[in-house]
């Protein structure tokens, strides 16, 4: 019997349903669980209090990232340096104790492989196409770039996965984001995803899993796909997917935790079946023309507040609905911006290159290309590069990129989440602006009172040189 055409999401979902309850809630198997120090302590504590075990410790990988300082972690004597903030130190201690007590594989803060969970998972080959991947972090959507069904969960769900290797879930609706045509020269994956979020809105994908389709995504490297899927959550979608293909298989082959030998062949044969069947339908569909996309930046305090770099700060009256007009007024007030100001007239005092969205080697190369032979403007007070992992850092150093950054006046840091969320000491001061390659421009996200403009690594590098937002394509001329 011929089966009904299915979407990629439906195929992965079907292959993970353990059983379905009468009310439609499904018990779904989780293949991979990433754990970090911030959203896990209460989950481990709950297991301990109820005397529960971790069902499959080998399917969980723990690595600290959110709260770690990005200053050197090992002293000249080779000894590990203490963390100054006692609360941060206690959180790291708790993770180390929990992974020991429950037998979970741990990548230590001083290991070369340490980094942001969403950089480490793909890099180690722990994240695989067609697998279900969760983490107590909303940017888990990132791993969808490999063709995995990956989404963020709360701490109660972290406990649920640790204890049962499953989650109780309602099936999501499906949304197709189809991009036609080709991206213009100098237009990056970050510009594309910011533009997409602007089109569908910060709640446009709520209740849906997005599948990104079209030739633009097929031509993308794995790292670019990770950038796109990473920000699915900023469009309200819990997960984003791109069908796995030869580019993904080539990326994964030989990575430490990827299947090997006969297992590899069997895995690839299965992965090749993971695409949306012709004739399968989506609950929602959006088509975007790649030719419309310019280098894109945010002006407000929601990731949907995007504008091409050639544009101007909008007026609240430009928006059709009262609620958004009100939100825009509050955003402009927080951002200290007036309607009609050219985006290129906005000065920045801080530049942050990093985060699970844009801290991989291709991101650093892209920023370094802009910075080579240039220096940051004197008005830029603080500029840092935080590589996504120790392996990215080492690769960049092998290529001499660290020297390019340092000569341009950037600080070259240890891996972690850093100024993306303003949890460790890396913060943007109140009232100052930051050109940031991260994913959220929320009020107070990079520090209390900090004003964030989201953009690509190349655009952030260009802003550092110019001292204000600028079209990187003009800088290169």
């Amino acid at each position: 019997m011929a089966s009904r055409p299915r979407t990629l999401y439906q195929k992965i979902w079907d292959d993970h349903v353990v059983e379905t309850r009468e009310d439609g809630t499904a018990l779904v198997y989780i293949d991979r669980h990433l754990v970090h120090e911030v959203t896990s302590p209460q989950a481990f504590e709950a297991l301990q209090l109820s005397g529960r075990e971790v069902r499959r410790p080998e399917l969980t990988l723990a690595v600290p990232d959110h709260n770690l300082p990005t200053t050197p972690r090992v002293g000249a004597d080779g000894e590990r340096l203490p963390i100054a903030d006692p609360q941060s130190a206690a959180q790291l201690d708790a993770l180390e104790r929990n992974v020991r007590d429950f037998g979970i594989r741990y990548i230590d803060a001083t290991a070369a492989e340490q980094g942001i969970v969403h950089v480490v998972g793909p890099e180690q080959g722990f994240s695989l196409p067609g697998s279900t991947i969760v983490c107590g972090d909303s940017h888990t959507a990132c791993h969808g770039g490999l063709g995995a069904l990956a989404f963020g969960i709360g701490t109660s769900e972290v406990e649920h996965v640790l204890a049962t290797q499953t989650l109780l879930l309602q099936q999501s609706k499906t949304m197709e984001v189809r991009v036609e045509g080709v991206l213009g020269p100098g237009i990056t994956a970050k510009d594309l995803i910011l533009h997409i979020i602007g089109q569908i809105g910060a709640a446009g994908g709520t209740g849906h899993v997005i599948e990104y389709r079209g030739p633009v995504f097929e031509k993308m490297s794995v790292e670019e796909r990770l950038t796109v899927c990473n920000m699915s959550i900023e469009a309200g979608a819990r997960a984003g997917l791109i069908a796995p293909d030869e580019t993904v298989f080539a990326y994964l082959q030989g990575r430490p935790m990827a299947p090997q030998g006969a297992d590899w062949d069997a895995a690839v044969a299965y992965w090749r079946t993971l695409n949306t069947d012709p004739g399968a339908t989506f609950d929602k569909s959006v088509t975007i023309d790649a030719a419309d996309i310019a280098p894109t930046v945010t002006w407000g305090t929601s990731p949907e507040d995007v504008v091409p770099i050639s544009g101007a700060v909008p007026s609240p009256d430009d928006f059709p609905h009262e609620a958004k007009q009100d939100a825009a007024r509050k955003s402009l007030d927080y951002m200290a911006l007036s309607p009609g100001t050219a985006m290129t007239d906005i000065p920045v005092e801080n530049v942050f290159i990093g985060s699970c969205t844009n801290s991989r080697i291709e991101d650093l190369r892209s920023a370094a290309r802009v910075l080579k032979g240039r220096t940051k403007a004197p008005s830029v007070r603080w500029a840092i590069v935080v590589p996504g992992s120790g392996l990215v850092k080492r690769q960049a150093e092998d290529e001499g990129l660290d020297e390019v950054f340092k000569q341009a006046g950037f600080e070259w840091r240890e891996p972690g989440c850093s100024a993306c969320l303003g949890m460790n000491p890396d913060k943007v001061p109140p009232g100052e602006r930051c050109a940031s390659t991260s994913n959220r421009n929320f009020v107070g996200r990079q520090g209390p009172g900090a004003r964030t403009h989201l953009m690509s690594p190349a655009m952030a590098a260009a802003a550092a040189v110019a001292g204000h937002l600028v079209d990187v394509r003009e800088l290169s001329e």
């Binding site: 969960i153 709360g154 701490t155 309200g236 935790m257």
Partner: protein
């Protein structure tokens, strides 16, 4: 988790749209290793503005929060739900919620009530007058003393868990046999997935 059949009392007329979990509880409060005491940091930035609704004495301890579209978007931090609980909030009424937040809310006994924008506007008025609002899970309605009555939908499984104070982990652990069978079947078809970090 305690069972929730009804949440009744004054409501905080907040009404903001796209309220992200960084606003509900900023990152500096996430360094804790417990679930307690997060009310101190709840809506910290908003509370720096004099005259904000959260510090208005008539809403202190109000068990219901009324908000705009896309409440709880952004970070998956369950600390947002813990912070609301610590403020004494047991129901949030909004036109829509982020998927992750609404799941976190239910797991902590907070009822996420979805109502259309017109209903929200009416409830904002009622709440602003300091009048009581009742969220009833049995009848799935929100009512006011002025005879307003708004029906809302809630996923049946979530409603069941809320009304009975069920622990999902305990429920799933009763299904261990089914999980065992799934893993056995999987080991044959897709054995490479089982190795994980043991490779």
């Amino acid at each position: 988790m305690r069972a929730v059949k009804e949440v009744a009392g004054r409501a905080i007329p907040f009404g903001a749209k796209n309220v992200d979990t960084d606003v509900i509880i900023p990152a500096k409060w996430l360094k804790t290793i417990t679930r307690d005491g997060l009310g101190k940091g709840a809506f910290e930035t908003i509370r720096q503005t004099p005259g904000n609704v959260f510090d208005d004495p008539q809403f202190t301890g109000a068990p219901i929060l009324i908000a705009g579209d896309n409440f709880g978007c952004g970070s998956s931090r369950e600390h947002a739900a813990w912070a609301l609980l610590d403020l004494g909030i047991h129901a949030v009424i909004a036109p829509s919620f982020s998927d992750i937040f609404s799941g976190n809310a239910v797991k902590n006994g907070i009822v996420p009530v979805v109502l259309p924008q017109e209903a929200i506007e009416r409830l904002m008025e009622v709440a602003g007058e300091g009048q009581e609002i009742t969220v009833d899970l049995e009848s799935q309605t929100v009512t006011t003393l002025y005879q307003d009555r708004f029906a809302f939908e809630l996923d049946p499984f979530r409603r069941h868990c809320l009304m009975n104070g069920l622990d999902e982990v305990a429920l799933t652990l009763e299904r261990q046999d089914a999980i065992d069978r799934f893993e056995t079947r999987r080991a044959g078809a897709q054995g490479w997935l089982a190795t994980g970090t043991n490779i």
